[in-house]
């Protein structure tokens, strides 16, 4: 005999109220930021989504590693040329942002998830901020990693690490500056362009396109004015990033010694302005996405 009020009755709990803690916008921002970082790195996603991030990180680190090894074997006779190596990797950074920025920005529009987020604790502005933040953090790490490898490699392979370390103090500034600004430019333009379309292929093409078009316009302006006008030259963002690296790391080429480039601050300002314009464009665009 089972008593009628038996403890063994199975209850379907069904729906229950939630009276727990709510951390509001702060929690929402953090959730969206980390979801973005994970998507950008392909974490928790199928193998196909990991291809580009893994490829770019491996291919950018290998030349840096090679340079350190060669310099070490030669006992420091062959110097490590930061700007050269960094410049040769710029196209890979473009590949990364062109492939991965749409992963977080176009996808939300393609699958129409935005209305679900925007009716929660995320406003348009917070959404844009969390997406920008995620892309910037990942781009910063991707840009910084090979430079840091060179930096610590140079200290490591030196015959006398202690004195080299003291000498190298000056170099950490340029390393950080170059990575911060490069990440800013790629994040700004990449996120703004990716937010403009729900189609990932279009977004990827437009991000590659903008760097090529800017280069073409810059060359065109130079031809028009007969000499390399400096304002036009700045438009070629990849070229300007290279010039900035050469000046920052004090590895000027012969050509630059003949016709000295503008002050490094002109380049720094250009990159800053481009970064900010990109971020503002992203915010402007997100406010206008049809939901």
């Amino acid at each position: 005999m089972v008593p009628p009020d038996s403890e063994t009755t199975i209850h379907d709990l069904g729906y229950r109220r939630y009276d727990g803690e709510r951390i509001g916008a702060r929690g929402a921002l953090r959730a969206l930021y980390w979801q973005g970082v994970r998507a950008l790195c392909g974490v928790g996603r199928p193998a196909k989504a990991k291809a580009v991030p893994v490829f770019v990180v491996v291919v950018t680190m290998l030349p840096a590693l090679a340079a350190v090894v060669v310099s070490g074997k030669s006992g420091g006779v062959i110097p490590i040329r930061y700007a050269n190596i960094f410049t040769s990797q710029l196209l890979l950074f473009v590949l990364f942002v062109a492939a991965q920025a749409p992963e977080i920005l176009s996808r939300d529009q393609q699958h129409r998830v935005l209305p679900l987020m925007l009716t929660r604790e995320l406003t348009h502005g917070r959404y844009a901020l969390a997406r920008w933040g995620a892309l910037y953090s990942v781009m910063f790490v991707v840009c910084l990693a090979p430079l840091l490898l060179l930096y610590f490699g140079e200290i490591g392979v030196a015959t006398d690490p202690a004195t080299t370390f003291a000498k190298m103090g000056k170099k950490i500034g340029p390393v950080l500056m170059q990575a911060l600004l490069t990440a800013g430019v790629f994040t700004g333009l990449g996120s703004a362009l990716a937010a403009f379309t729900a189609r990932r292929a279009y977004a990827t093409a437009s991000i590659f396109g903008v760097f090529i078009v800017l280069k073409a316009v810059s060359v065109g302006l130079g031809d028009l004015s007969g000499s390399q006008g400096q304002a036009g030259e700045l438009l070629d963002l990849l070229g300007s990033l290279r010039t900035m690296a050469l000046i920052l790391f004090d590895e000027k080429t012969r050509a630059m010694e003949l016709t000295p480039p503008a002050s490094v601050w002109v380049y720094v300002a250009t990159m800053l302005v481009t970064s900010v314009i990109g971020a503002l464009m992203l915010r402007w665009r997100i406010r206008r996405v049809a939901t």
């Binding site: 951390i23 509001g24 928790g44």
Partner: protein, 291 residues
């Protein structure tokens, strides 16, 4: 283009249907209530909060299930729903727990760990309902929740909505272009057309049980009717069915006595009783001429 035109109404707690043909302005009304679209003129309030000026107050109170697809195909339902719970400001651990609970409530068990790209329409609709419930809102706004479902799926979805609304005290606004399917679950109906309000009615009493018994018999209906009339009942014959009027205040004992008399009449006329039920009023009766 104006989707809504001088529409003015108030919706009471409980389950309310929002009915109109495609393009009548149902989705626009829903989006204005959610703050996704700003009205060009006029105002709206959700639980006393203005949808434009006090949007942040509404965010935690409202759960929204859009009409369109809104699932990320390579995420699992468990991940997706707990991510959106976090976007509502629920801390990570509680978000996972809530996600598991609401997914069970909507009837998704082991499937919730599979990527949502492989889900059937029925499963996708369940996830969409689950994400609207996960942050324990006070008001649920469901835009065409039965869209694309087969008849069995429709029934399940409707009874799920009914259970959620009745048992857990969440007010529900559910839109549909089918009047018929809403009458089962709604306590009130708002009918709009061309952006204007046609009618807004409470249904409770109107479609509740009426003072009519509906009887179906197998055999000589005329004789059966005559026998009932002879025993002092008011009888109307409606083709193959017999409608028996009940007195205004019919208690349980009176009803049981009525059943006995029906049985006796059936026995005396030698007809088979197929069905006896209290007739329910239909929404279509209520809105005859309105559509």
């Amino acid at each position: 283009m104006s989707a809504l035109d001088s529409l003015s109404l108030s919706i009471e707690p409980g389950i309310t249907g929002l009915v109109g043909a495609n393009g009548a302005g149902k989705s626009t009304l829903v989006k204005i209530l959610l703050g996704l679209v700003e009205p060009s003129s006029g105002s709206a309030q959700v639980m006393g909060h203005d949808v434009v000026r006090e949007r942040s107050a509404i965010r935690a109170l409202v759960g929204y299930m859009p009409e369109h697809d809104c699932l990320l195909p390579d995420m699992s339902a468990a991940e997706f729903v707990s991510f959106l719970a976090r976007c509502s400001g629920i801390p990570p651990a509680a978000a996972r727990e809530r996600a598991a609970e609401v997914l069970r409530h909507v009837g998704l068990f082991e499937e919730r760990y599979r990527p949502m790209g492989g889900y059937s329409t029925g499963m996708a609709q369940r996830v969409k309902l689950a994400q609207a419930l996960v942050h324990d809102p006070r008001v649920l706004i469901l835009d065409e929740p039965t869209n694309g479902l087969d008849p069995a799926g429709r029934d399940e979805m409707l009874s799920l909505i009914q259970r959620t609304g009745r048992e857990f005290g969440i007010s529900v606004l559910v839109s549909s272009h089918l009047l018929g399917e809403l009458e089962r679950i709604c306590e009130g109906v708002v009918l709009i057309e061309g952006g204007r309000l046609l009618r807004s009615e409470r249904l409770g009493a109107l479609t509740g049980e009426t003072g009519t018994l509906l009887v179906e018999v197998d055999g000589d209906i005329d004789a059966f009717c005559a026998a009932l009339t002879a025993s002092g009942l008011t009888v109307v014959r409606d083709r193959e069915r017999v409608l028996v009027e009940l007195a205004e205040t019919t208690g349980e004992s009176r009803l049981r006595e009525m059943y006995d008399r029906l049985r006796d009449a059936a026995v005396s006329c030698n007809v088979g009783l197929l069905r006896i039920e209290r007739r329910r009023a239909h929404l279509e009766d209520l809105f005859t001429g309105a559509l």
